[in-house]
């Protein structure tokens, strides 16, 4: 296994763990945590590809990570605000009970 593949495998594992949490856990905040883990896995991927690419001086993957972090910050802020708003409305943050948009 090359170093890049190791990194990618770790990242895939991290992604899968985050995904598993996001789809199996009941609490909205945990889903959010899972999503953050998946984002981090993606960041790790990007950094690994940047590190092992032929032209790392272009900094593309690196800058991509910075932007993705900023997006993650925005996403977390809005997501948590939504969770708090939902909690205030329905007095729960259990996602099994939040299904207003049922068709």
């Amino acid at each position: 296994m090359t170093p890049l593949q190791t990194c990618l495998l770790v990242s895939a594992l991290l992604f899968s763990i985050g995904f598993a949490g996001a789809v199996t856990r009941r609490h909205a905040i945990l889903v959010l945590i899972g999503i953050e883990l998946m984002l981090n896995a993606a960041n790790l991927n990007l950094i690994a590809f940047w590190r092992f690419s032929a032209h790392p001086e272009a900094l593309t993957g690196f800058i991509f990570v910075l932007f993705s972090m900023a997006m993650a910050g925005a996403e977390a802020a809005v997501g948590l605000a939504l969770i708090i708003a939902i909690y205030r409305h329905k007095k729960t943050s259990n996602l099994d009970e939040v299904k207003e948009l049922k068709g």
């Binding site: 495998l9 960041n43 950094i47 800058i63 972090m69 910050g73």
Partner: protein
């Protein structure tokens, strides 16, 4: 792969597993902080110093705290007695297994992976700043706008909206 990398990878993955599996939400959040620190350490190993520090600043310093606050605000800091899993959790596990299998297979079977390790790239702060201010200045501005919009949106969403409570002395 250096032993340091393996250690950090293991710490990261363990933190992630705990973050996703512990019953108490606060413990989950703290485990998540550990996982993020591990990711930051991996960034450092991959010569991405700036990204590593930014990771700590953003995830451990900000997002973890934010999540902790949200946990307390939604009064879910106590360990729940009931099940913590959704009704269809087994389907989720199955899908996760599929996802990991396919990802692992794709990574291992890929032929487009360079065999030799290139020299450590230089990502000094000056280079990053130059790139951000020249080539990537438009995305940077847009991200600034997005962050501002997100901040305002979050504040508005989280504001108390019922007007009946306004007369009370609640601060």
């Amino acid at each position: 792969m250096s032993p340091f990398f393996i250690i950090t990878a293991v710490v990261t993955l363990l933190g992630a597993v705990f973050a996703m599996s512990l019953r108490n939400l606060v413990h989950c959040a703290l485990a998540m902080a550990v996982a993020f620190s591990g990711v930051a350490a991996m960034f450092l190993q991959l010569d991405a110093q700036f990204a590593g520090f930014a990771e700590i600043l953003v995830y451990v310093g900000a997002i973890a705290i934010l999540i902790v606050f949200a946990i307390l605000l939604t009064r879910s800091g106590e360990t729940p007695e009931k099940s913590v899993l959704t009704s269809g959790w087994w389907a989720g596990i199955a899908v996760t297994a599929m996802v990991f299998t396919i990802l692992g297979w794709a990574i291992l079977s890929s032929s487009a992976v360079p065999k030799d390790l290139p020299a450590a790239p230089v990502a000094t702060v000056k280079n990053i700043g130059d790139a951000l201010m020249t080539k990537y200045v438009l995305p940077l501005e847009i991200i600034g706008l997005v962050l501002t919009a997100a901040m305002i949106g979050a504040v508005i969403i989280a504001l108390k909206e019922d007007k009946k409570d306004n007369s009370g002395g609640e601060q």
